[in-house]
């Protein structure tokens, strides 16, 4: 064991207990904790909206809420989940905590920007919540023009402002990570010795930095147009509403990769550790994430196959979309191959990670249906799309996020949780998720459109199944709240490396010191140098 016994030192949690010290902290680990608390709150607000949506869809006649309320519910669910949970989820919590630790640095390059990023996130979230309290927004999270600019009389401005501000939080996080990974790696830690989680954060940061400004300015144009009733998205003046869709999806398609690439990084760490095996095709895994980040910028038009976009542009976008699927496929194969000749154990993080691989595979394969020009005509804007992206973003990204929380929980808090409860929660989540979203594929091909509070009665069976699954899924998400909180109070103290994992973050104490390492580590070995034949050595 190369970890250092530092029990006598204070750690980042005990360094100062006052609230003020938390609100002004420059420590990346504390900012990660602040972020975790905030996004958990927003996750449960967005989740409450989802619960009401599923409850309302139990019957075909929108008996629980009015159709106006339903429209506001799915808009709020989308806005909060996309911008205030999924996009910041892994980067701002696990990423913030782990990037300096994994590369042997004392902090991110710009700690003040990091804190500013959290404040911007909070202000953005307050705007979003304000729009909710003031009466809600009914545009859908996509803000399509001319509906959002000329026709909606709801609180578009506050919601747009919230997303705009949160966008700058994203940009600052991305910028910080890129600079940190470039400039602050420990001696000996060359690019191809970096953990795949760091590669994932790097690829994600590139997308955050390059895509978010486009969203920000597009939102400015929406706000100006909504306010002054004139703008380039208004067809009545000769403007082009499809221009908005191009600009919006230029950001929002890469945004999907902002959500899923970090999940790929987390899954790689967990699978390598619990299979006690080096990640198969490590370099290909790193390249694949960069390829996904790069290709992600040229496929946005596949959201617009039936929008009135030209057939030629549609063809180009379809082809490019099939190309971006290749690196995703490679990753699934490599995770599977990593299990080969491993020494596998099934603690809770591993269950979450394997669940991620399975759900991501289904999400990816159904993505091919939607990339197919002729077939997408039938599937576009139906529940098939809803099911597909939930498999990617919830089945994929959130499953991996939960896996990551369980994997690094001992490191972050210094406490062990109940693995039995955690494994139970992982299984409940997996089952609940599939029951919720698999029926939506079927009802989608039948033609049930998205964003319908009322629907033809022949679709009811599938909706009832889906709503039943949602109850189980909600249980799966609520369980960790209890056993993780309990572990804080009376969980056993965690050793510095409870999983015998590789990686610099396991070489410091749990929880880490305020300055991360007593002395800067020097890296002399390849990543994931696990050895599956023979007893594990840390």
């Amino acid at each position: 064991m190369s970890s250092i016994s530092v029990a006598q030192h204070e750690n980042y949690l005990t360094a100062d207990f006052r609230l003020w010290s938390w609100l002004t902290t420059l420590d990346h680990k504390r900012i990660a904790v602040l972020y975790t608390v905030s996004i958990t709150l927003l996750f449960f607000i967005g989740g409450a909206a989802a619960a009401l949506i599923r409850l309302n869809l139990l019957t075909p006649y929108s008996e629980l809420v009015s159709i106006e309320t339903y429209n506001k519910l799915f808009t709020m669910h989308g806005v909060i989940m996309v911008w205030f949970f999924l996009i910041p989820s892994i980067p701002t919590t696990l990423g913030n905590f782990l990037v300096p630790l994994m590369i042997g640095a004392r902090d991110l390059a710009f700690p003040r920007l990091n804190l500013l990023s959290w404040y911007l996130y909070v202000i953005g979230a307050l705007f979003a919540i304000e729009s909710l309290i003031a009466g809600g927004v009914d545009t859908g999270w996509t803000f399509y023009t001319p509906f959002s600019t000329m026709f909606s009389n709801t609180h578009v401005f506050a919601a747009v402002a919230g997303v705009f501000i949160a966008g700058f939080s994203s940009i600052l996080t991305g910028l910080n990570f890129i600079v940190t990974i470039h400039e602050m790696r420990a001696p000996g830690l060359s690019w191809f010795r970096l953990p795949l989680f760091i590669w994932a954060m790097y690829a994600t940061s590139l997308i955050l930095v390059l895509a978010t400004p486009v969203l920000a300015m597009t939102l400015v144009l929406i706000a100006v147009e909504h306010f002054f009733r004139i703008g380039v998205f208004d067809p009545a003046l000769g403007g082009d509403p499809l221009l908005f869709q191009h600009l919006f999806w230029f950001y929002s398609h890469p945004a999907v990769y902002i959500m899923i690439v970090p999940a790929m990084g987390v899954a790689s760490e967990i699978i390598g550790c619990f299979a006690r095996n080096r990640i198969f095709g490590y370099r290909f895994m790193a390249y694949a994430m960069l390829a996904i980040a790069a290709f992600g910028f040229v496929v946005w038009g596949h959201h617009m196959f039936v929008s009135g976009q030209s057939a030629y542009a549609g063809t180009v976008f379809s082809l490019l979309t099939f190309l971006v699927s290749v690196p995703s496929a490679i990753k699934v194969f490599n995770w599977t191959a990593t299990l080969y000749k491993g020494r596998i154990s099934f603690e809770a993080p591993m269950l979450y990670a394997l669940g991620f691989v399975g759900l991501f595979t289904i999400g990816g394969l159904t993505g091919l249906f939607l990339a197919s020009l002729g077939l997408d005509v039938q599937l576009h804007d139906t529940y098939f799309v809803v099911a597909h992206f939930h498999y990617i973003m919830v089945g994929g990204a959130v499953m991996a996020f939960f896996g990551g929380i369980h994997f690094w929980w001992p490191k972050v808090t210094g406490r062990m949780y109940s693995d039995a409860w955690a494994r139970f929660a992982a299984i409940v989540t997996f089952v609940g998720f599939n029951l919720t979203f698999f029926p939506q594929f079927i009802v989608g091909y039948l033609g049930m459109p998205r964003r319908y509070p009322e629907y033809p009665p022949e679709f009811q069976l599938w909706n009832v199944l889906s709503s039943t699954g949602a109850v189980i899924l909600a249980l799966g998400y609520a369980l960790p709240l209890f056993y993780l909180f309990r572990s804080l109070r009376d969980g056993p103290t965690a050793p510095s490396n409870p999983w015998n994992a590789k990686g610099l973050e396991w070489q410091t104490s749990s929880p880490p010191l305020p300055e991360n390492f007593l002395r800067t580590p020097i890296v002399a070995e390849e990543p994931y140098s696990y050895s599956s034949d023979g007893p594990s050595h840390g």
Binding site: H182, L242, Q309, S310, A311
Partner: protein, 92 residues
Amino acid sequence: MKQFSLAPIRTYFFSWCILLALLLLTLGSAFIYLGWLNTAINLTISVTQAAIVLLFSMHLRSAHPTLRIAATIGFFGIAILIALSLSDVLTR
């Protein structure tokens, strides 16, 4: 990344003169009717001016490759955005 190297002061004056000359050129070219070529000439001159500012005033000529990539990647992003959006608009 290496230490900065101090560029001679005349570089800045020289590039300033060229920038102003190009400004007059682009202005003058606009008054000659050339159809779509007008815009092409204007933009070519703009790209040249931008390149001069980037290379000399902003020292990219002597900068680390990482900085050069960071400097160009934004322009590359816009190029993709405009090119693929136009591929739709022009073929509708």
